[in-house]
């Protein structure tokens, strides 16, 4: 009996999340200084952005699921390229940026990437249906949402301090739960139709 293999992207993503947790533990125990911990976290999230962006255009939905296949495909390519390039720039930033500006810079660049991707998507494929929640693309959208929130937290922490960032962190699972609820409801509606 063969053991099912985990997709390579999932293993990479798991390793990146593990590195974030390790950095947090190492910072708490004093094994690494806080700046190094921040650099590791920004690098890990940037790496995840690159991996997700790289895979996004490859996960093509069936043609019937698209309103306009040509525009949908163009939007997917744009989406992927924006995240891969932004992730690579953010990776460089995590290594080269001065410690004082690392987090706000990462926050602004991360949010800008998501803004650019959203504008591009809206211009290239307006009304293109969202993926079904049971698809890999649906799962990836949740990871993108998590990364968007993480870069937003970097920025909020710098702008308003810990208190606001903590409240924003609490809001994230609530919003994500709402997104999942909308997706599931929509999918059930599609199944009945």
């Amino acid at each position: 009996m063969s053991t099912p293999k985990l997709p390579r992207a999932v293993l990479f993503a798991g390793a990146l999340f593990a590195s974030v947790l390790l950095a947090a533990v190492a910072k708490k125990t004093g094994a690494i200084d806080p700046i190094m911990a921040k650099r590791v976290v920004v690098a890990a999230f940037s790496g995840l952005l690159v991996i997700l962006g790289n895979s996004w255009p490859k996960l093509t939905p069936p043609l019937a699921a698209r309103r306009d296949p040509a525009r949908g495909q163009a939007a997917d390519r744009f989406f992927g390229w924006v995240f891969v390039l932004s992730g690579l720039i953010l990776l460089l930033t995590s290594v080269l940026a001065p410690s004082g500006v690392l987090m706000p810079l990462a926050g602004v660049m991360g949010m800008a990437a998501f803004g650019l991707a959203t504008i591009g998507w809206a211009r290239t494929a307006p009304g293109e249906p969202l993926p079904r929640p049971d698809s890999v693309r649906g799962a990836m959208l949740h990871l993108f949402f998590g990364l968007f929130w993480a870069f937003g937290l970097f920025l909020a922490d710098w702008l308003w301090g810990d208190a606001v960032a903590q409240w924003l962190a609490i809001g994230m699972p609530i919003l994500q739960g709402s997104v999942i609820a909308v997706q599931v409801t929509r999918a059930r509606g599609l199944d009945r139709a």
Partner: protein
């Protein structure tokens, strides 16, 4: 990854991928762009499918191909094309 490099090594297959960048196309539409035999085109499509660079769907009597490139594979394709290896659609292409 070696199957990707093998797929990108042929100018015909690179041209097919370039055409599919514009929109999904039927096998007939793609074959019409080249002056090679249908069995040869079928072999090219099979190599591209094997490398997981395109996906195909049957729609009625036609088979529709669409692009299935990651950003890295997309960049590799552009890299290969930028070295002047591109062919014109009607150009006769020797078999690789």
């Amino acid at each position: 990854m070696s199957s990707v490099f093998k797929a990108l090594a042929s100018p015909v297959r690179r041209r097919v991928l370039e055409l599919l960048r514009q929109r999904p196309m039927t096998a007939g539409e793609l074959a019409a762009e080249f002056s090679v035999s249908k069995p040869t085109m079928s072999k090219h499509f099979a190599v591209l499918r094997e490398a997981d660079l395109v996906s195909s769907e049957r729609q009625g009597k036609s088979i529709v191909y669409q692009l299935k490139l990651s950003v890295l594979e997309d960049a590799l394709l552009s890299f290969a094309q930028s070295f002047g290896l591109a062919v014109h659609p009607t150009e006769e292409v020797p078999e690789s």
